[in-house]
Subunit: 110 residues, 2 copies
DNA sequence: TAAGTTTATTGCAATATTACGATAAATAAG
DNA sequence: CTTATTTATCGTAATATTGCAATAAACTTA
């Protein structure tokens, strides 16, 4: 118990759930928005921008990186993070298809 | 500790995170897909369709209902669930905007 | 009213997530 | 080499999520 039974679901369903998990915390949403917004990649600036402790931000960055949504590049003592465009596009298509499902018009019990 | 610090984030960031949470479990993704797919609203059929126990499905349905994504309608001893179109559309727009953010082209450190 | 059907709720166990202090690791500057 | 700067990792505490057996609640039918 307490474990998601992934094997009961399709590949697509699990993928949507996994990507959603990445978006399921406002700090990670904020990090992604910052990476989109800044014209230069940010690093520890995220710690200042978002009001959470450095280890917490580092942990969120790790999750986004593990999923493949962002890439990290070491520059001296600091690390520069960017959106991984290819992965973002792939995820976007998967998600857009899910969001744009057609509702059968007969479907009206409530 | 262990509590998401929602107050540090914008309304929009929290909204995206909350909607994402609803999508962050394959069983809920499967439930939503079924509700879209069936031409008649389903109810306990979800328990048969998805291979989880009845209380578990009931709990997932409750979460989706609390968020406003689905509506439930009692019909005799059974309950018929449907997508809440208006809420789905609202969430879709919010999400689509998030997914379609523009990447600044100068943003190339990695 | 009694029995059957369907869904919701309760209670609990297992696991996952979030947060951060302490500290390690890596590099840069002096 | 020493010190400062920046980021990652470890360890741990608090909380949230997932899953289901047991049971309650609501309704139907006999």
């Amino acid at each position: 118990m307490g474990v998601t039974k992934s094997e009961k679901f399709s590949e697509e369903q699990n993928q949507i759930a996994n990507i959603s998990k990445a978006f399921a915390h406002p700090a990670r949403v904020a990090i992604l928005q910052q990476l989109f917004k800044m014209d230069t990649c940010i690093c520890g600036d995220l710690v200042a921008e978002i009001g959470l402790a450095q280890p917490t931000i580092s942990q969120h960055l790790k999750e986004l990186k593990n999923l493949g949504l962002i890439k990290g590049n070491v520059e001296g003592t600091s690390v520069c993070y960017c959106i991984n465009k290819e992965v973002w596009e792939t995820f976007k298509e998967l998600f857009t298809a899910f969001l744009n499902q057609d509702l059968n018009s007969k479907n009206q019990c409530c």
